[in-house]
Subunit: 300 residues, 2 copies
């Protein structure tokens, strides 16, 4: 498989793959969620169960396209819609959970419920995104701009694992994962840099299959070979990172907001660590971004 | 004075202002530092003292332009060049200190020296940058991507003060300073957000003259009125921030590297808090960026 280098290629790959994921959409009556779902249906890689106030969804999907691929499950309120959709996934009747017009905390409460949720014991829920940047020649994955504030060493290990897994799913045979820091120095003033060497060593020992993990590197030396050379640094990432693991949510979020606002980036994001991928867009995300997120989730 | 909205306007403003700053350049024999210095000389707002191995500098400046505005002071090594340049500033013979091809720690050691340095007792040294982004209609200042790792409340107060001062110097009558966080919620999980309300209140009481300070806001809600509206947030920043104060160096650095690498941003940066502004570029910075940094320093 050739590496998937853009969201358009991702959508094309899924359309041609014979994959068909069953997606439970919670309260998907808003325009951008409906558009994203219909685009996934048109792409041939999705069946959709709309869970919530389905009269609203039907009104929005006036022509009700792809009737054979769509189900509606009624729920009286946000919380019961979230619980019903989670139950569909638990019973094996849906493969992916997607948030529509429901508050994030309501959906996450259903996902995280100890008895009836989607989180295997001991698992780590983390957010993983992919960005398509006009100034970069391939998709750039990054974590975690949304869920884990200050990752523990164990949580960071899971983040690396998720990043590698996503890159593999995108067809990158040996993904390059950069561990981000404001400089290239390991220092006990920045405790997370002390754990970076251990992660790089684990990768060399094959912990995550074929993958190169290195750091500390900053965003520029991770993604620009010339900047790496100017600084006189040698790194197996070679200025061609496929994924960036940020030190904390503040850095990842600043990166995410900067590239979407100022660099024309398209992004897609999913939660990993639950028994199924969860698509958890922000209200402000475009229909395109929600569709790309669905496509990303459909890889798993 | 109309607000200065681009580095070109900044250079033009300085050229027309009658200001002439004396700049002590430490080990400025590299091409981009010489080009930046010569551009400041051509702009009519600088005199330069090159301190270091001056034979190397003269070789680089082959035609030795603007001889009446240039002095050379010889020093045998980096450390003595740094000390000599700092001494020039202390004696009032230079207004601005600029780093050339000298390691940052060598220059900072001379600046921070308790007896012979440039740091008034009790002052806070912090880095302040300005970015010119093709996708934003004005200069966007931000702090601190380089010096203070995790600002204390007192240090953050100084960062706000420096940001306001720079915006005022750029002619922004009532600068809008956004206190950045990954979300808009005040939470004791993120202790710095607890201090943001106090800073906003101090601004309302006029602590920094005319200025609007608000947060927590993320980068997008700070700089995009539509994103603010979608989230249903009301903020006096109004999506038109003039300056961003980041929670820590990781977030600020990720922002800085993302906008320069992916968003075509030009940036300029200075250290504030010393008795004179210090221009401390990275080796990889372009001649243009070093020139803009000199221009920014010349405002003070």
């Amino acid at each position: 498989m050739d590496p998937i280098r853009s969201f358009q290629q991702l959508a094309g790959h899924l359309s041609g793959s014979g994959v068909r994921r069953r997606i439970a959409v919670v309260c998907g009556s808003d325009s951008s969620t409906c558009q994203a779902a219909d685009r996934a249906l048109a792409g041939g890689f999705a069946e959709i169960v709309f869970v919530g106030r389905t009269a609203d969804v039907r009104r929005r999907r006036a022509a009700e396209p792809f009737p054979a691929l769509v189900r509606y499950v009624d729920a009286a309120d946000d919380a019961s819609a979230a619980r019903l959709a989670v139950a569909l996934v638990r019973r094996g009747e849906a493969d992916v959970l997607m948030k529509g017009l429901v508050p994030t905390d309501v959906l996450l409460r259903a996902v995280l419920d100890k008895e009836q949720g989607l989180l295997p014991p001991g698992s780590v829920l983390t957010h993983l995104a992919a960005a398509q940047l006009p100034a970069y020649g391939k998709l750039l994955c990054f974590t975690d701009s949304a869920v884990i504030p200050y990752p523990t060493p164990r949580q960071r290990e899971v983040q690396v694992a998720c990043a590698v897994r996503l890159c593999h799913a995108l067809g990158v045979a040996e993904p390059r994962v950069a561990l981000i820091h404001c400089s290239e120095h390991v220092s006990d003033k920045f405790p997370h840099t002390l754990t970076y060497a251990a992660l790089a060593a684990a990768a060399r020992q094959g912990r995550w299959g074929r993958a190169v993990v290195d750091g500390p590197l900053d965003v520029r030396t991770s993604c620009d070979a010339a900047a790496l050379a100017v600084k006189g640094i040698s790194s197996p990432i070679g200025g061609q990172a496929d994924a960036l693991v940020f030190p904390d949510i503040e850095a990842a979020n600043a990166f995410y907001k900067a590239i979407t606002l100022f660099a024309g980036a398209e992004t897609a994001g999913i939660l990993q660590g639950a028994s199924s991928p969860v698509v958890l867009p922000s209200r402000g995300d475009s229909a395109a971004s929600k569709f790309y997120s669905l496509a990303l989730a459909a890889l798993f």
